[in-house]
Symmetry: C2
Amino acid sequence: MAPSQKTAIQPTRTENYPEWYQQVIKAADLAEHSPVRGCMVIKPWGYSLWENMQADLDRRFKETGHENAYFPLFIPKSYLEREAEHIEGFAKECAVVTHSRLEANEEGELIPTGELDEPLIVRPTSETIIGEMYSRWVQSYRDLPILINQWANVVRWEMRTRLFLRTAEFLWQEGHTLHATREEALAETRRMLEVYRDFAEEAMAMPVLRGEKTAAERFPGADATYCIEALMQDRKALQAGTSHFLGQNFARASDITFLSREGREELAWSTSWGTSTRLVGAMIMVHSDDNGLVLPPRLAPLHAVLLPVVPKEDQRVAIEARAAQLRDELAGTPYAGGRLRLRLDDRDLRGGEKNWSWVKKGVPLRLELGPRDLERGVVAVSRRDRDPREKESIPFAELADRLPALLEEIQENLRAQALAFRREHTHTLRTREEFEEFFGAEEAPGLALLPWGGTEEEERAIAQRTKATIRCIPFEDEEGAGWGTCPFTGREARVAVFGRAY
Amino acid sequence: MAPSQKTAIQPTRTENYPEWYQQVIKAADLAEHSPVRGCMVIKPWGYSLWENMQADLDRRFKETGHENAYFPLFIPKSYLEREAEHIEGFAKECAVVTHSRLEANEEGELIPTGELDEPLIVRPTSETIIGEMYSRWVQSYRDLPILINQWANVVRWEMRTRLFLRTAEFLWQEGHTLHATREEALAETRRMLEVYRDFAEEAMAMPVLRGEKTAAERFPGADATYCIEALMQDRKALQAGTSHFLGQNFARASDITFLSREGREELAWSTSWGTSTRLVGAMIMVHSDDNGLVLPPRLAPLHAVLLPVVPKEDQRVAIEARAAQLRDELAGTPYAGGRLRLRLDDRDLRGGEKNWSWVKKGVPLRLELGPRDLERGVVAVSRRDRDPREKESIPFAELADRLPALLEEIQENLRAQALAFRREHTHTLRTREEFEEFFGAEEAPGLALLPWGGTEEEERAIAQRTKATIRCIPFEDEEGAGWGTCPFTGREARVAVFGRAY
């Protein structure tokens, strides 16, 4: 709570969650809408969150044998058309490049000229262009597997955009792999979902459910889509990453064949998997509170800020000198495989304003050094996951040990809080009445576990009526997964997770 | 030389330099043309060169106080038009997005629909869209300076494309800064050129000349363009990075004003600076030889490969086990602020083929371990900057010390070789006759230093006749810089560097 008992973010989460989300982003200076339809500007603090996510994911991709490469931004229209479901899925929302020049007309107005023979589509995803290249690279089983990832921007025009969560252009990574056998491709699909799960839980401190999408929610052109799903604080679900088993669909579309060990010409098997800047939105929504952004230490641009508190001018030199010395002493402190990221904030601002600016930016630890602290040889440490006024005095000599330990405590605490929240808002339902009541609420009520044996049409009808969709059929080792009697059809069926979704 | 006395790359540099360049790229598997007009595919080995460049440059940008951010891919046509020279410079070669959907017509053919109210241009550079955002962010001098960099893709359609050197889409970084005073903006422009110079010389081992462009070669909309220029092995010059002092031109175009300390409304001053995947092309051309790619160790994806040599099957277990042990022992070896990147190559390939594959990929050190080496407790080390058959035996126990030292020797040797080459092919000319003779050659003759007092038209006329352009007016502390009598005009003038350019 702010000193005035007001929260730093207005409105609060309970008052108006979507508006709270906007205000958290604004107060932390993460991003804003641009004048270009549906496109956002990611500002430095927001971009450094994405950079930290990239670095962590990239390490995990490389540890699992993947390499990065880069493919063209543009996809010829005819390539997108090669896979019927795929073009069907993306044709409605794509940026079409039709001309290659601007030239002045008779009124001096610049108009598009140099019409292209074939329109180019700004990639909404790259299966088709990458498939074309793979078809040139693969001759024999010796050329397999191909394990490539791309960091890139993609464009899918959307009617309604929300910062990070849904924007026309977004940044992402897309893995595209090619295999000699179905089993290998399936194993890869699962392996990368586990990488996403580990990343979400370890780095983002965000618990996720792993499962498979139903046909209605599958990636256009995939045989199976696996996903990780997280629950936000407004009890809506968010798909945080997907891994697709593409079967031989894209290999057929792009004619990717190879000579097998047995000398037969065979179609390859492929996968693709992606996560995007949407994860930044998920991270904001899972952890932040009514005082602004709360960041898991592993991904925080700064782990700690050191704030000199100078009530009288004649104390300034001594306090600022000791603060600078502390900063230098702590510079090499190891944390989480890297170094402690600590900034000394000696801006000329009122102490309260300065302190609250870092609360709103979500920095995990704030270290104040005032005259009394200096005398006692301590700093007053506040944790972002606790009440902002709570402080603990830590002696200078203990900081190098205590700060990394505190960061790990915060990381674990955020994860545990988010898991408790998800458990509290996940309900096992047995009857149609229970289902209708659960999703009859105006507000999203959370996740419902329910055996589902219906058809794709029945699934769509339920979505229309209740706004609840099947987030996934959870893997068998997930909490609440299993079999039961579907109350809609009476069939024995796998348990599905229903929820309203972003 | 390859055992057969043939070189690994055919043709050689002297036989056909442009074709040699293509073949080096192919043999090292760096990149290839895509089916999309003018766009290339950067393959994993080539992309990791770019990743290493990015990491090094990014560290330098951050050390000089810059932060990364991300701005939209699309620029509304009207924004580009705000700065007259700017649109003039880019209108002829831009990708124009005119539609937002594909829909089937009566024949079932997908055609572009959903025409946009205003065409969008795929960014050829981002001054105008970033300027628009800055105009919203800046109110007072307290908001200045803004020091932001963006890593992004850009598109400029070109008639003739060459891998890395000139492609329709390329990857780059663009810094965009905003300042309260002319002096500050000028200092920033110079500071970033020095960053580029240091990077080129320290990381790429590529000596460069720093200087200012003449009006004819200036960035469209800039008041001054500074550049670093390097000499390739075919004696053509390549612009490796530019830093632009934009004056108040873009501030005027985007209405970026601020309240000064003295309470006056003033126009801000801006700079922009960029380097691109073109640097990969420069690095290839500066160092590589007739056996393929030669990489400066600081940027090499692998510093060393360890190659077990197994002439008889019964020796395999012992040799491969010791090789694996060496790899593990050397894993943490410090090099250049990071770790030694060493790979054990135990692929089932003939030894010669395996060895040559790494020669062609440019790995700085190759370490062979055969039965005799194992007995003697040594590996046979070959340096990529020496004859491929030359080997030095280094005892196991000395490797952790010797390998980093050898890498630094190679780094310095490549830089020294490139500098000697540039000096050998840089000539001070005094008369028109000397100039005409120098550039009368069919092949590019190198760089010429000559006082230049002519006009922009005279400069263009010379370029038309001789294909030589003014690469820059070198800064005063560069070799050969100074004043003299221009032989074309008789005026006292600054020395210019002329050369044929990529």
